[in-house]
Each structure stands twice: as C-alpha cells, then as structure tokens.
Amino acid sequence: MGRWYYRNYYTPAAPREVKGGIKAQTKRGGFGQSWWAKRWIAVLESFNIGARLGRGRAYARRGQVASIAIGKGSVTAAVQGTRSKPYSVAITVKTLSGPEWAKILKALSEQVIFAAKLLAGEMPDDIEDVFRQQNVSLFPVKLKDLQTSCSCPDWSNPCKHIAAVYYVLGEEFDRDPFLIFRLRGMDRDELVKKLGEAHGHRERKEGKLDRGIEKPEPELTSASDPLPEDPDIFWQSLVLARTEEKEVSIPPQSAALIKRLGNFPLWRGREHFVESLERVYSAASPIGLDIYLGK
C-alpha cells in the first residue's frame, strides 16, 4: 500500500489548516456508506468518548488528516492539530492466529460468493456469520482488540485526532473490503491466493502464481512486426473491411464504470469525485455519438 509524503505546512490558525489533507467525502450524517464501514465506525462510537467524536468527525471533513499509512495490523497517521507539528497517531489491531485463519479460510471456501464478492470489491453480506461460527470476530469488538495512541497532549484516549483517523479509515473501508483483513493480519493477495487454492488449484506453487492478480495481464503483443515488402499488401489497395457495426447509444445511467469502481481511495480533492466525473461523462457522450455518426 502506498505511503503519502507531505512537506511541513506553514499554518497560522488553530487547528491549522491542511492544504490538500484527506477530506472525507461524506458531507453530512453518518460516516461510511457500506455496512462494513458502519460496522467499523460503530466500534469507535461504542467507546463513549462524547464530544471528541464530533470534533474528530469535523477534523476528518476538514482534511486535518495529513497522511496515513496502513500496514498489517497497524495504522499510523499524521493529524494536524493546533501545534505547528502534526501529531502522530497509531492504531494497532490484534491480528488473528494461523490456526484461526485456517479455519476461516476453509469455511469461506465452501461458498463461492465470499471470494467473488471480495474480488469484485464488496464485503459479502453474511461474512461475519462465518467468522462467528468459528468463534472469531472479524471486526474488533473488545477494547483489547484495539490499541490506540496519539502524541497530542490530551490525556483522554481515544482523542479527537484518533477519532479523525478512524473516520477517514471508515471511508477507506467503503472502497476496499480487504482493509479489515489486512488489519487482521491477512493481505489481499495472500487471501486471494488461498481462497483460489481452496477451489482446487493446489498443485502449482511456483513463485509466479504467488502474485495472484497483482498486475493486469501484459499487453497482447509487443514484439516488432516488420513491414511487408510486397506493394499490394503494403498499400492494401483492397477496400477496408468496415469494422463490424455495433449498437451505439448513450447509456441511460451516466458514468457506470466509475460507479462500479466507487470512490477514489483516500480522496483529497476539493470536488466530489463521482459527481464531477459524472458531469464529464454526460457532457462527452453526445460528442462521441456525433463523431460516430460522422457529423
């Protein structure tokens, strides 16, 4: 997972404004659209930290979270508060043990839907039941599942900075269902590979395969293709086989591909990601149709 590097910003006010911080896209109401993001937020809200919750939410919306890095079982972030130097926030999540994972994977592989939904970018609805049946919890529930710290002078833990990071993570959950698995100690690629194996591909264990579907397939061809010398072929004086005519119409729903992929990870832009793109797609369609029709 990528890391974000930031310069030190000169900020006079309190809390100091962060230019281009990670701004939560949720405008009002609860954070996190999906049930699993809500589930994550619910853990924080169960701590009963009162007004700090609201402040943390405001921080998240204003973009006070300047950077964030997510590793297996841990999250570190820089949050801009009132001091010139951002505070460091760390969240540690208890990872599951090897035998626990083994049980879970076996149970998950009994229904194709779990692997399929996860790969398509969605958390399967009843995945928690599978965990529960193995006496394991997917989301941290108890306080000891989750350790938080912040370098701010506030004594209370979780403080508003931690809460802010929590909310930003909540949005990231929306987009990436593998995030909770990573926090529980299992990387996406590892998980995909193991679920794939469970569907009957045990015999091949070469290093190549281990990468799973990490990178798209290589380009179809890239070898050089020498030009023909025969002038008849070279100029191809035959009339072109017209590309097969296919139905072309403007889709009733704009920006379907964008909607399928969902929000951009940790979006820090001023504009709303999906809405602005939708405008571009709607405006471009008629132009494309005119070009296709030869006008």
Binding site: G121, T221, L227, K246, R260, P265, G288
Partner: protein, 995 residues
C-alpha cells in the same frame, strides 16, 4: 511544404499550419528500381514490374498535428474518397477515420476511465479507453485490417523500418483521440483553467483533476507524490482492468423450459415453467468454444479453457467476474452460495426480467449474453397488434373522393398472425404474465397492452376518422391508442383498394399518355406514369428514382400533359440543376410539343408583375435551384398545379435555402426525381420526404430520434422496417438490371445530352466567331478552307472547355457546362456500379478529362491515346474488362480507341464532343455494344445547346441518309458552305448561356 499546407488548409479550415511543425521524416516504402511504388495509379504510374520490391527509406515532409487537428481532419475525411478535387485519401487515412468512429463510440457509451501516465519523468492525466466485451473484438478487428502503410513512418536516421506492431499504433491512436474528445466536453472550462494554471493545488488529486479537464494534460506536483498517485489509480481501476484485458469472457445463456409435454391447443402456458440461465466461459480467441462454468471449477478443465492463462488465473477471473455480475443480478448472487455454481433457474416473470433488463445490464458490464433466437432485443418478433377494420363502399370512377373523407372503423386484435377473441384476451389478461407460450411459441406480451386491447374490444361505439388518418395508421405514421402497434389495417371497399394500391399489392388504374404525346412509352414507363398519376390524384408526393437512362423525363412529361388535360390550366413548375435546363426544354419540345414551355432562367428572365401573366400562358415553367431561392417571391405568388424537382438530391440537406424554398411553395401535387438511391441514405431521406409528404416522418428532431439514430447507431432492424413502411409507397425505383425492365429496354439507347455554356465559354465563343468572320471576308481557296476547319476546331474546343481552347493548364472545375454534366452523370454511373467509356476526338481534352475525373472521384481512370504502347494498351483493356475491382471509367481518344478494342464491361458510352461522321461515332460505340455485352448500352451524346454543335447535330438528324454520303469523308463538306450559311451555322443562340 507549401503544398502540404495548402492541402491541409483546403481540407480543414480549422487547421492553421504553423511553420515550425513541419518536419522531415522517413517513410519506408516498397521500392523497385530506385522508384517508390505508388499506392494507387491515381497518383502515379506504376514502375515496370522488374525484380522484387524492397523497403527503402524516403524522406517526406510531414506535419505534426495535435489531436484536435487530427480529429478535425479525420472528421472531414469520414467516408469519403476525395476531400477536394485533386486531394485523394489514402487507405491509411480512411482507416484512421474508422478508428476515430470507434473512439467516438467508446466515448458515447462511456467506456473509458480517468488515468495517469508516466512520460519521461513527467506525469500526464489521460482519459484511457476500456475495451470490455465486444469492444475488445472490434479492437482486434481494427488491428487486423490496419494497412501496413499506416505504420511506415519513422524518424530520420533510423537504420531500418521500425515495424511498430499495429496494435501499439492503434492503441496510441485510440487513446489520443478518445482523450481529446472527452476533453472537448470540458472546453467551456478551458479558459478559466488556463488562468488558474499558475496557482498551487491543495492536493495532488486536485492537480490530477485539473489536468484531466484542461487542454494541457501535464500534472504539476511533486514527483514522488505523483508516482504514488499513479499506483493508487492503477489499484483503483483494477477490478475493471482485470476483466477488460482478460483473454476470457464470462457468458450467460438463457435456456427455454424444455417442451416435453405438448400443451393443449389454445391454452396459454406460462406459469410453473422453469427457465435456466447457464454460466459459460468463452476464450476471446476462439468464440466457438463454450465451457460450462459448472465444469470449470476443476483445475484440469479450467486449464484447458484458455491457452494464455493458468488454471488459477482462470478461477480468479471467474470469481471476480461472478462477483461483479452478482451485484447486477441478485439471482446470480444467490447462486453463488454454493461451492461450484453453474447457473440458476427462473420463473416466467424472472425470465422476462432477465430478457428485458438484466441481459442489457450484463451486456453493458462487458459480459456475453445469449438469448433465444425468437427474442429480437426489442421484443419478440411475434407481438400483439391492432387492426382497425374499415368499411367503405366500392370505389366508383370519378367519384371525387379525397383523403378528407370520413370513415368508420372497429378494432381487431391479433397476436402474431392469430386473431384473438375477446374471451381469449380476457384469459390472457388474467394470467398477468409477460411471457406466455401460444401454440408452442414464446411471446412477450405487455399485460397492460392486453388490458388496453380488452378495453378497446369491449367498447361498443365505432370510431370515426378521416381516410388520411387511416392511411397514416396503415403506414405506421400514426400510433393506435396507448402506443399499441398497428400491424395491418383491414378495410373493405374503396379504402381497401386505396391502401392496397399504396402498398403495391394491388394494381393501379392504367393511365395512358395523352393522344398529343409524341412518342412511345415502354411498358415500365406506362406503369411509372400510372403510379405518378395515382399519387398525384390523391395529392400525395411521389419520388421517382429510376436508374439513369430509364426515362424519368418522359414519364414526367407525359404526366404533366395528362394532368393538364384533366385539371385545367394551372402551370407546373419544374426545378432542375442549371446543366439540365436545356435538356428539359428540348425533351419537352420533342415529346409534348403542344405544351407551351417557359424557361425562367438567365439574366433576361421576367421579373415583377409581368411574371404571373407570362406564366399563365404556359403549361410548364423550367427554372433552376439557384433561382428557386432568389425568385422565391415570384414563385410563391402562384398556385402551381405541380411542383417537380429534378435531381432532388439537391434538397437533401433540409437547412439549405433551396430546400426551405421548395417546401414553401403551393402545389396540388409534388414530384421528386432522382437517379441516386435515396432510400439507402437514411440521413438524406427526411428532407425529400418532408417536401413530398410533410409531417409523415415527424419533425427533424423526431426523425433523428425515431429513425436516424436507431438505424445508423443502433442497427435497429425494426426502425429500418418502420421507415421502409412509411416511405416505401412514395418511392419508385427501377433498376436497369431488373428482369421486367430488361425485357422492355432496347439493347442500345441513344440519348442526346444538351449542355449549357458558361459565361466564359460564351464570350470566348463569340470572340472566335467575330475574329473568323473578319478574316473570312478576305480569304479564298485553300486559305479559306484552312481557316474554316481551324475555326470549327476552335469552337469545339471552346464548347469542351476553356482550358482546352486556351491550352494554358489553367484550373478545371466550374468552367464548362459539358464537363459539369459529365461529372454529374458519371457520379451516378459510379454509384450504381456501372462502367463507362468516355470518347473525345481531342487528345488534349482526353488528358484533361483523365486528370479531372481522377481528381474528382479519387479513383483510377484509364486513358488511352495515340502514345500508349500496344503492350500497355492490351494491359488497360484487360484490367478494364476483368474482375470486380477493375477501373470503372475509361477515357479514350477517338483515334486511338475508336476501333478494334473489345470493351464490353462498359454499359455507358459518352461522346464528349461530336464527330460529324455518325459512322465514326457508331464504330466507337461498338467498342461496348458488341458480342459479349450482357447489359443494355446507353449512349450519351453531348451537345452544347445553341452552338454549332447543335446545328450540325440537327443537320445530320434531318438528312441522315444524305449525311452518310456527303459527310462520309469527314468535315470537308462544311468548307464548301457559303459565308452566309457558315454564319448561320456557328451563330451563338440565346439558349446557349446557362447562367
């Protein structure tokens, strides 16, 4: 460089070439004996075929366009062969126009994503195409058809041809054009953005978004941050890029319930049947292979599905795809709750939802979808339909019936061909199922439609409408209540006769030409006359689109004459291109000599109040398209009996002034004549139909929405069928090759083509005559003979073309009436795939024709003259005669090509200038009209009206048999004429001038 700049400027006014963007590049071209082999004979002679061709570098001047210029240029080139006279499109350029259309389709269907690309240390924001489903097949098809020349350019100094693979060039092109098209959608923001370029962005995401929507794609920001952004963009798009690039495709096949038990007749089946949707895997490189997903969960089968993927990858692809599909269709999600899913079952309602909605959604997401053959995509072929039943008495001759007549009718309901009773409909309505099987055939029926039908049938009162409404219902112009389709109007009595006649299933009342008609109509021309008469009588417009040479003119003249006899003295207005005004006048004089004809043309035409009076004295007014607009006021003040447009393709663009003017005139009947197949060009049809039968195709916007876009963009056969149903009754097009026509046609038809002179030609002509007459006074004997022959030759040259007379290599287009007409006629010849010989007695004129025709049409034109070697001549003849791809036009000098050759591939012979000896002309004509000719031959003899050409033509016609004798020796006899006779011979008459 100047030339390239000139061509670019001529092609695309938007391009303003900058000097610094011209550069020298190397093109690797097939070369033989030190000469590059030209791509087409249009642009150069083929070097002799000695030795093997080798690729050699040639330095060429190139102009580096940006994507915006490239798109403008390709739009200008779309589906053309010639951009402007002399600018012929190469195969590569035509190829890229197809590429651009594909990019346009991707943009229209929104198959692209915002992306970011590393470029020599910088990062650029791009809109990247996504090739899902069928698009990846189109991509591969385009890759296969790319002409190698499209990738032959490389930088100067490269030791060998780069050989960039076609797919790379293609992808670069598609990415560039698509990116530009999407940016165009943001162009309103460009100016604002330009100003903001200097400001810093709050985040790298803002910088990316900014660069995506401005003209400049460079993203400004920290390089490390940008690299990280590029990675996260790649991760974000992964769920789609994985499926887009996969060599496999997941398909869904809807399978009908097995019909093991034959249902009882008449009892609709619908409930308790289960349909099945089967999951299948299909490799893109072998679409015939379909592997059921049920089996592919085992590794050994999975491995065999694709050559490019490991078994594990196949499973991963399958899981990802099923996961994506499951959010489109909840039945898929449900099916995945097992270890090895292979499909799911559906009830009829579910099957209907799948057909109408989910299949579309899945297809849109890039999956393959296979549906039963009876499903057409817009519904089933069999559907519920209404038939109004109209009762009317038998038609009585001359009963004065019109479309305004009121009739009564009842509704009748059918599904497919089966008539449904109210009782049956009620039981269907009770089922409330959208898919029912009636006698073994699955049918989609909207339960609301059934209810509407039940309501209509239950109603007691009859409906009263005009016959015009009935006609419009029958043709599908109008819809029945609540949008129900009207399949067929059933009628009795005269309304039935009228409808059958319109649809062509019942014979028309024969109309015979007026006794005063001087000439003989062939059987198909009589049919044409009856058809024109039928539509005219009912006040409906007709488009007669017979092939060139079948006699649209005589049929029209016979109609005008007939109509004048029966419908009083109102005049007819005939509008045609300037080049055929003379022809109409001559033909009218020949076939309908009793009709007074007024040519409203030229500077001396009547204007103001005198016009009306003058018109009243005539049966027919001939004018041109240019004047139709300029003298519109005059024309509008008269109520015309008929309004006839010749070469009606002149109003195909409804926005032009002549099209608007034509629509604004008053006339009892309207006729459009054209030799080009209008019915094949959906875009042009609206304007002509709107002129003929206003409102039948709806407004222009409605037409675009209901017909043009569905037919052109969506390939909707039903829309095409609807359009044919509405327009069919009003278009009559017979081809020379139709069996019934061939039988009626003589093997050889000779026609004179009377052409006007341009102003330039007329003044040159007058100058030559004046000069000669001065000299003639003082010359005698040999000198006189020489002078006369030289003058004849000069005058013929002037009639041919000013550049021919002046011999100064000056510009060609727009200066000769004959050449303009020849070009128009050859265009029709080419459009219908015929071949033509063009003879001239002048070698210089032949050369001029050869060059001009090649430049106008962008195709190879053969030219045979005295300087061609026997070997080359034989080769030309062979190429002209052989195969479907040979050249279509052959220009010959009369001397070199007039005898001996066998050119039966041609069925048109044009004599561009006249030889006073008919025998010589006939001999030339016989190159095509001889044993081996399988088609009818049309001979077009060009004559400049009002000049000596016409005069001599008359003399030959009048005394043909004498002419054979005296003219036999050539033109010598003319020199024996007296000065007075000569003066009469070459006098320029008023009608010569076309302007």
């Amino acid at each position: 460089m100047e030339e390239l700049a000139r061509v670019l400027a001529a092609a695309v006014p938007e391009i303003r070439p900058e000097k610094k963007r011209f550069q020298d590049l190397v093109a690797w071209l097939p070369t033989r004996a030190g000469e590059a082999i030209p791509s087409s004979p249009v642009i150069g002679e083929q070097p002799p075929k000695r030795g093997k061709a080798k690729l050699r570098p040639w330095i060429v001047t190139a102009y580096q366009t940006d994507w915006s210029e490239a798109v403008d240029l390709l739009c200008a080139c779309s589906r053309k062969r010639v951009l402007a006279p002399g600018i012929v499109l190469g195969n590569d350029l035509s190829y890229w126009t197809e590429g651009l259309r594909f990019a346009g389709a991707l943009v229209a269907r929104q198959q692209y994503l915002p992306s970011i690309e590393a470029d020599e240390g910088d990062f650029r924001a791009v809109w990247a195409p996504v090739y899902l489903g069928d698009d990846s097949e189109v991509l591969m098809q385009l890759e296969r058809t790319m002409p190698p020349v499209a990738r032959a350019l490389s930088d100067i100094g490269s030791p060998e041809a780069t050989g960039t693979p076609a797919i790379d060039r293609l992808k670069t092109f598609l990415k560039g054009t698509l990116d530009h098209l999407v940016r165009l959608a943001c162009r309103e923001e460009w100016s604002v953005r330009k100003k903001a370029t200097g400001t810093a962005f709050e985040s790298i995401h803002d910088a990316w978004f900014f660069a995506l929507r401005s003209q400049d794609d460079l993203i400004r920001g920290d390089k490390l941050e940008l690299a990280a952004l590029a990675e996260s963009v790649c991760n974000w798009a992964r769920p789609i890029s994985v499926t887009a690039l996969s060599p496999l495709r997941l398909c869904f096949r809807l399978e009908e319930p097995s019909m093991s038990e034959a249902p009882k007749r008449g009892r609709p089946r619908s409930s308790e049947e289960s349909w099945y949707v089967r999951y299948l895997l299909q490799p893109r490189d072998d679409l015939s292979l379909l592997v059921p997903v049920e089996d592919s969960w085992s590794n050994s089968v999975a491995k065999s599905v694709s050559r490019q993927m490991t078994g594990a990858k196949v499973t991963e692809y399958l899981l990802t795809s099923l996961g994506q599909a499951s959010s489109v269709c909840r039945e898929i999600a449900a099916s995945l709750k097992s270890a090895r899913p292979g499909g799911f079952t559906l009830d009829p309602q579910g099957a209907h939802d799948f057909l109408t909605e989910k299949a579309l959604l899945l297809r849109q997401s890039g999956f393959g979808v296979m549906l039963p053959a009876w499903w057409t995509g817009k519904g089933t072929k069999v559907r519920l339909s209404l038939s109004p039943r109209v009762k009317s008495p038998k038609m009585k001759a001359g009963s004065g019936l019109s479309l305004g007549e009121i009739v009564q009718f009842d509704w009748e309901v059918a599904i497919g061909d089966e008539k449904m009773t109210l009782q049956e409909l009620k039981s269907l309505a009770a089922l409330k199922a959208p898919l029912v099987s009636i006698r073994g055939q699955w049918v989609e029926i909207d339960p609301d439609h059934i209810q509407t039908a039940v309501d209509l049938l239950s109603r007691k009162a009859q409906e009263r409408v005009t016959v015009r409404d009935v006609v419009q219902l029958a043709l599908g112009v109008k819809e029945a209540p609540r949008g129900l389709p009207v399949e067929k109007v059933k009628a009795t009595g005269w309304v039935s006769t009228l409808l059958k006649q319109l649809e062509g299933s019942s014979g028309l009342v024969d109309i015979l030409p007026d006794p005063a008609f001087s000439g003989e109509l062939r059987p198909y021309q009589l049919r044409g006359l009856s058809w024109l008469g039928f539509l005219s009588q009912w006040g409906m417009g007709a488009c007669l689109a017979d092939d060139m040479g079948l006699g649209k003119t005589v049929q029209t003249l016979a109609l005008i004459q007939r109509y004048r006899r029966s419908n009083g003295k109102k005049p007819v207005l005939l509008v045609c291109p300037t080049t055929v005004v003379n022809n109409w006048q001559k033909e009218a004089f020949r076939f309908t000599p009793d009709l007074p004809v007024l040519v409203h043309h030229g500077a001396s035409r009547r204007k103001g109040t005198g016009f009306g009076k003058e018109v009243a004295k005539h049966a027919m007014v001939i004018s041109s398209y240019g004047l139709l607009h300029r003298d519109l006021k005059l024309f509008q003040d008269i109520h015309w009996s008929g309004l006839i447009l010749d070469e009606a393709q002149n109003i195909k663009n409804p926005e032009t002034r002549q099209a608007k003017a034509a629509r604004s005139l008053n006339a009892d009947y309207r006729i459009a004549l054209t030799g080009t197949p209008v019915e094949n060009n959906v875009g042009d049809l609206w304007s002509i139909m709107e002129f003929l039968n206003p409102g039948f195709l709806g407004s222009q916007a409605e037409f675009k929405r209901k017909f043009f876009v569905p037919i052109q963009a969506e390939r909707d056969p039903q829309a095409a069928e609807r359009l044919r149903r509405i327009t069919g009754p009003f278009v009559l097009r017979r081809l020379k090759t139709d069996r019934s026509i061939i039988a009626d046609l003589p093997d050889k038809m000779e026609m004179k083509v009377f052409c006007p002179l341009t102003k330039e030609q007329a003044s040159l002509y007058a100058a030559v005559v004046k000069e000669t007459e001065e000299e003639l006074k003082s010359s005698e004997g040999m000198k006189r003979r020489g002078l006369i022959l030289a003058t004849l030759s000069k005058l013929k040259q002037v009639c041919n073309h000013p550049a021919h007379f002046l011999g100064d290599n000056s510009a060609i287009p727009g200066r000769s009436g004959k050449l303009a007409r020849l070009t128009e006629m050859l265009e029709e010849v080419l459009q219908i795939g015929d071949r033509a010989l063009v003879f001239s007695q002048f070698a210089e004129m032949g050369k001029l024709l050869h060059e001009h025709l090649q430049e106008m049409f962008g195709i190879e034109v053969l030219y045979l003259h005295g300087g061609v070697t026997k070997q080359n001549r034989d080769r030309m003849v062979e190429r002209f005669q052989d195969g479907p791809d040979g050249p279509s036009i052959f220009v010959l000098s009369l001397k070199a090509g007039g005898t001996g050759l066998n050119l039966t591939a041609a069925n048109h012979v044009f004599h561009f200038d006249r030889w006073w000896n008919p025998a010589v002309e006939n001999q030339a004509t016989d190159r095509a009209f001889r044993i081996g000719q399988k088609k009818n031959v049309q001979v077009h003899k060009f004559v400049c009206a009002g000049t000596l050409e016409e005069k001599i033509d008359e003399m030959i016609e009048q005394k043909k048999e004498i002419a054979e004798k005296i003219v036999g020796a050539g033109e010598g006899w003319i020199t024996e004429l007296s000065n007075k006779d000569l003066k009469e011979l070459w006098k320029l008459r008023k009608e010569a001038l076309g302007e």
